[in-house]
Amino acid sequence: MPLQGGLGLAFEKGDERVAVFIIDEEAVKLRGELIKRLMKASRGENFDLVYVAAPKLIATVLDASVFVELGVGLLVVGENVVEAAPAKKRSQPIIGEDLRRRLMRLEERIDALEAEEARSEGVESLTERITRLELEVEALKDNISKSLRRLDATLSGILAKVNALEEVLVSLKRVKMPAVSVKEPGLEPGVTVADEGLPSFFKDNPWLKILSSKGRES
């Protein structure tokens, strides 16, 4: 990660977060830069241990007792790196913990609310689906009922026709009687035809001759 404002190094060591601020020749050359970096180091926000690292030449002008007093460690960088003053572990501000706890509680409540909302959304969705299904079932019942009625009417009609046909068939069988002689309408008297298939009341009926001569009397 890019380091700014003289922060040369930042890393974690176990549970501790460590920052190292660099005081190099550039910090000395630029006006106010040295003071600015030292001030930042002394604040050391968000770090448990804070060090200032300086070359041996610059370190000679830095008063190590001031670093000890501020709890900031001093590393003198030469051929080797010497810890001229140890850094003191900083306690995080109480207010931060409190905020974190409150934040956690809020997060928990938000999670709970979101879960509840999700549940209620689910219930609403289920209710809607049930209502829709009920409507569909009603429509289906209605359709089936109408279809059954139509089917019933059709069947009744078919049955009635079958019955009528059966009766016609029976009567057709019944009228098949022995052939007798009757006068054919329109034929001269004395000319006869077989009355196969004609009912018995045709046999020897004098009206056949009378009626068949209608319109031909003259």
């Binding site: 004609l198 056949l208 209608k214």
Partner: protein, 423 residues
């Protein structure tokens, strides 16, 4: 059209007062029968909507399942031919006749590709006026426009059809239906001027039966028209001599006990001590002038009255023997012996049983008429009851429709011939 075609497609229609008999020649001996009535359902009722009925009037074999309450029947059930004559403006009655005619023809719709329509012969009461003929023709024309089921149509009087069915060209036909009785001389055609019409029929015997049931404690059954009719047919007897029959029946109450159980129900009618009254029912058909009926008239039973309908006088109280004599004596003298030579009784009102155990005092209709004629000095008359009187008219229609040449066209002067409906 050939004679072979008519052997298949001659169609008879008998518009009886109670029943409509119909069907083609191929049915053989017996036609189809439905009641001559129509039911006008209350179209605003919930039941009407639930049943999904589309028609304004219901006729035919399924009619019974549509009937509403008893109270409703009076106003919704129409018997168009009850009196033999339908008023020209009685729209409901004509609607029923249209529906019944259509029902009958539809019932025998043909699938034969050679079928070009029926030769329809319809029979109406002998007293039917000309406008009834016109209406019946109009109805058939309309049905043919809708169905192409009718090639030609003709109409004959019912007594003529009876004479034809019984193979007698010269005779007296007495046709007695529900509402009236026609005594009609036939000499190859009805001698209309000599016809005698009585203003009574089966319904009058029903009314008397109802009164007898009421007197015997069956006031609820007495109101059921159809049930009363069945009881009349089951229990009624025609007496040889009414006074003697009543006396014997009162002496032997158990022998003459009149009991009837309505089939399919728990209802049983037992006239008990009043069983002698079963002889009144038969007597009333033949002779309502007997003294014994006066008490019934006094108690409110309607007395048949003389009524004039159009040009025809309907006689109320003339006994049947007098009716035959009056009718015959309106005909030429030389024809009269031939007319007495054969008297045919037709119609449901003559269908009385004379069980062997009652032979001493009960007779059939033919014997009763002979006795009435003998009382008035007319002897040696041959009287026959049509074996199946219910079907005689239809059979006559079938023979008439089959035999009359198709080129003999309808004449309003002669009131016979074919009215061509379509080619």
């Amino acid at each position: 059209m050939s004679e072979v075609y008519k052997r298949k497609y001659t169609f008879g229609e008998d518009y009886g007062t109670s029943d409509y008999k119909f069907g083609p020649i191929t049915l053989g001996e017996r036609p189809e029968v439905i009641e001559n009535r129509g039911y006008f359902p209350d179209t605003s009722s919930i039941m009407f909507k639930l049943m999904g009925v589309k028609k304004d009037v219901i006729v035919g074999k399924d009619l019974a399942v549509h009937l509403g309450s008893r109270e409703e029947l009076t106003s919704h059930l129409v018997y168009p031919m009850r009196k033999g004559v339908v008023d020209r403006g009685d729209e409901k009655a004509w609607k029923v006749i249209y529906e019944i005619t259509r029902y009958g023809l539809d019932f025998f719709r043909q699938s034969d590709p050679d079928f070009k329509g029926f030769y329809v012969c319809a029979a109406l009461s002998a007293i039917a006026p000309r406008y009834m003929y016109e209406k019946i023709f109009e109805i058939h024309r309309k049905i043919d426009e809708e169905t192409k089921l009718i090639k030609a149509v003709t109409i004959i009087p019912q007594p003529l059809a009876v004479a034809i069915a019984h193979k007698v060209p010269t005779c007296i036909v007495i046709e007695s239906g529900h509402g009236n009785t026609q005594v009609c001389p036939i000499s190859r055609y009805p001698v209309k001027g000599a016809m005698v019409v009585l203003n009574r029929g089966g319904s009058d015997a029903d009314a008397l039966t109802s009164q007898i049931l009421y007197d015997a404690g069956y006031s609820d059954i007495a109101k059921e028209e159809a049930l009363v009719r069945r009881i009349k047919e089951a229990l009624g007897l025609v007496p040889r001599k009414l006074d003697e029959a009543v006396e014997v029946a009162k002496q032997k109450p158990e022998l003459f006990r009149a009991k009837y159980r309505v089939p399919g129900t728990r209802i049983e009618v037992d006239l008990g001590k009043e069983s002698w009254a079963r002889f009144l029912i038969g007597e009333y058909v033949f002779n309502p002038k007997h003294e014994i009926f006066k008490s019934y008239f006094k108690r409110g039973m309607p007395k048949p009255k003389d009524v004039k309908v159009g040009e025809i006088l309907f006689r109320g109280m003339l006994d049947l023997g007098e009716s035959v004599i009056e009718s015959v004596e309106k005909c030429p003298i030389e024809l009269q012996p031939y007319l007495y030579g054969k008297v045919l009784l037709s119609g449901g009102n003559f269908h009385w049983r004379a069980p062997p155990q009652f032979r001493e005092v009960a007779v059939d209709s033919a014997t009763k008429l002979k006795l009435l004629l003998a009382e008035k000095g007319v002897e040696n008359v041959t009287v026959e009851v049509a074996p199946e009187p219910k079907f005689s008219v239809w059979r006559g229609c079938i023979i008439y429709g089959y035999a009359v040449p198709e080129d003999y066209t309808w004449s309003w002067d002669n009131m016979e011939g074919w009215l061509r409906i379509h080619d």
